[in-house]
């Protein structure tokens, strides 16, 4: 099918050899690309129970048929692997010039396997692949690493790098690109580090495979114009994602002091208006005309690129109400290659542990200098406390025991994004059922459930809405692979995407229903992957894996206005979860039923899974 190169480049780090992996053409219809290809490759090739840091784990970079083309915000790439943070399927997307460069180099992705004996970086120029000694950049932050690579290979190349956090196997290390883009929250940077792979440089000179390039370009031009003429475009360009912070404050859904409270007394010091007032420039991914990265001069003179998630987690969640200081912490995390959401959550938990005399040293809410100190100790695993915090909140809770489980705000081990779901059951379900752990990428429903449902209710409409969004955001956009922001933030027509697929692939008949069936297939296979890994490792899989953070059930929300004292209820959440499973045709353990696997053409995968667990 057009729109694809039909193959992945395989980098064997142990042998320092490159080869090609040609995948079955039918995957282009059944999985589309990106996340779909990634989970299928991991399912087929990484043995059940594989240690995420072993040479048998594969790191998959995967683009899709629309990636890198001239259509709104298309230069995205998926990075996926078995997660060292959660033990299940992990992935993330990042905007990167490596996306179009890889497609022009003739590949639909890169598979990294094995483990190099010493730090290495890889340069890909079309079919020429070189493995280089990375001793000059190993130990450097992501900014200096990229600067080094730009000097050698030029600004137009695509770069994928890790910082010290990835090298030191921090379980929430990310992959970084283009001096500001990050992806792979569940430790994809650590998997890259475990393979002693510091960076990948990609340069391609071929053409984008497209069936009707002129038609696709025309459609893309219309898309760019629509984005630019959207009624809220100027406001978006002023504040980006941070415009949401004031809404979260109003609705008591801000993450404040480790998610214990829902509003923050200094919210106005870190909100979108303040960000807009202090903005010095705006940057974004290649092929994007609605750049979401808003840059300020931070308290130490760095240019720090902020968005809502890192402000929420490194600001209110640790009691820091000063944007330039938040900027410093964000810059440090970005440079080290730490996920900013998990970093903020780990710091929030550490502050609460200190309050309770468990941390072993003093760390108070709002302590800027100590926050800096801890971030460095985490990224370098400098000592016992830094190393424990580098393990993430789930393992911190296991180590400390007692009440610490309430301070660990995660699902399946992945720390929750910057939304306090204690009084919004639909959002709690979204976090609970996200395919990588508590991430907002697949479904964000707070505003919908307040406006169109009953906020306090656990009604089936909320499960339906979560699934609807998961199909679009987690299924369609993550497999195309292109950014959801033009649609979700500025109202770009969703129907445009199947049209793009038709023009690019040359296959007529793509429509949203068919795309959503692909999304269901991807979700079922990701869920099968989680269950397989848990059972293979002798761990227990149950519906409790889909429960949101314990705190949201057992602690009443503080500073939540009329929602003060509010919390989720286990029995009602179970009903909501049953609705979700019912709509998905999954059983009450949260495992797709045999007939559902069959509907989705996953009979072979179901048979493999049934060797480990009985299917209904």
């Amino acid at each position: 099918m057009n729109g694809y190169n039909g193959k992945f480049l395989v980098l064997d780090m142990s042998k320092k050899e490159a080869s090609e992996f040609t995948y079955p053409e039918e995957w282009q219809r059944t999985f589309i690309g990106g996340r779909g290809f990634a989970v299928k490759i991991l399912w087929d090739n990484v043995p059940p129970g594989t240690d995420p840091y072993s040479e048998d784990n594969w790191l998959v970079f995967s683009i899709g048929p629309l990636s890198g083309l001239s259509l709104p915000s298309s230069s995205k790439m998926i990075v996926a692997a078995k997660s060292p943070l959660t033990g299940g399927y992990g992935d993330g997307n990042l905007g990167t010039r490596a996306s179009p460069q890889l497609k022009k180099a003739g590949y639909d992705g890169i598979i990294v396997k094995g483990k190099a004996e010493s730090p290495t970086y890889v340069v890909i120029e079309n079919d020429k692949v070189e493995f280089h000694d990375a001793k000059d950049i190993w130990g450097k932050g992501t900014y200096d690493t990229e600067k080094y690579l730009i000097e050698k290979y030029g600004k137009k190349a695509g770069f994928l790098s890790i910082g010290q956090a990835g090298e030191n196997l921090v379980r929430y290390a990310t992959v970084r690109s283009q001096e500001g883009r990050s992806g792979g929250r569940p430790g994809m940077g650590a998997v890259m580090g475990s393979k002693m792979l510091k960076s990948i440089v990609v340069k391609g000179t071929g053409k984008f495979p497209q069936a009707e390039p002129k038609e696709a370009l025309k459609l893309g031009s219309e898309g760019y114009n629509m984005v630019k003429n959207a009624p809220n475009y100027d406001h978006w360009m002023g504040q980006g994602t941070t415009m949401i912070l004031d809404f979260l404050q109003e609705s008591s859904t801000l993450p404040v002091r480790n998610f214990s409270a829902g509003t923050y007394e200094l919210a106005a010091k870190v909100d979108g208006s303040e960000l807009e007032r202090t903005k010095i420039e705006q940057i974004g991914c290649p092929r994007c005309n609605m750049q979401c990265g808003i840059v300020i001069k931070d308290a130490e003179g760095n240019n720090s690129e902020l968005d809502y998630e890192n402000i929420g987690m490194l600001g209110p969640n640790i009691g820091i109400g000063d944007l330039p200081r938040v900027g410093v912490l964000n810059y440090m995390a970005d440079d080290y290659g730490l996920d900013t959401i998990s970093t903020g959550s780990v710091l929030g938990m550490a502050a609460e542990a200190s309050e309770n005399g468990v941390l072993g040293e003093t760390y108070s809410w709002g302590d800027f200098e100590k926050s800096k100190d801890l971030i460095t100790r985490i990224a370098t695993r400098a000592d016992n406390i830094g190393s424990l915090l580098a393990e993430g909140t789930m393992r911190m809770a296991q180590k400390w025991g007692g009440d610490a489980s309430k301070w660990a705000i995660n699902v399946k081990g992945l720390e929750a994004s910057a939304y306090n779901a204690a009084t919004v059951p639909g959002m709690a379900l979204s976090f609970g059922t996200s395919p990588i752990g508590a991430h907002h990428k697949d479904a964000w429903v707070i505003q919908w459930e307040i406006q169109f449902s009953e906020r306090d209710a656990y009604t089936p409409d909320k499960a339906e809405k979560v699934i609807e969004l998961q199909r679009i955001r987690g299924g369609m956009f993550e497999s195309l692979v292109t950014c959801r922001f033009p649609w979700i933030e500025l109202g770009y027509d969703l129907e445009a995407y199947p049209k793009f697929l038709e023009k690019v692939t040359g296959r007529s008949g793509w429509n949203l229903d068919e795309v959503f069936e692909v999304a269901d297939r991807i979700y079922a296979l990701i869920r099968a992957y989680w269950v397989r890994e848990f059972v293979a490792e002798g761990k227990v899989w149950s519906r409790k894996m889909d429960y949101p953070a314990e705190r949201w059930f057992v602690d009443g929300l503080k500073d939540g206005g009329k929602y003060t004292g509010g919390h989720l209820e286990y029995d009602k959440y179970d009903e909501l979860l049953n609705s979700y499973y019912g709509f998905r045709n999954w059983d009450l353990r949260g495992i797709p039923k045999e007939e559902e696997f069959k509907r989705l053409g996953l009979e072979h995968e179901a048979e493999q899974l049934s060797n480990l667990v009985d299917l209904e």
Binding site: N232, V445, W487, E489
Partner: protein, 72 residues
Amino acid sequence: MVTIRLVSYLEKMAGFREKEIKIEEPTRVRDLIAFDLPDERLMVVVDDIGGDLDTVVDNDSRVVISPIFGGG
């Protein structure tokens, strides 16, 4: 008094964040708005219940008007 709370950039458009308006009879939200707001992509919540610009409010109502966000 009806309380109107404008969220995020709507504050800049209207020139206030929150204000109270005394009304003599039940009134549509739309008729309380003496400034230009975009008709589309707005969330209107009256006393914590979803509504729209045509929802009728009374004194003691709290109206929150917010842009629609995608949630990143």
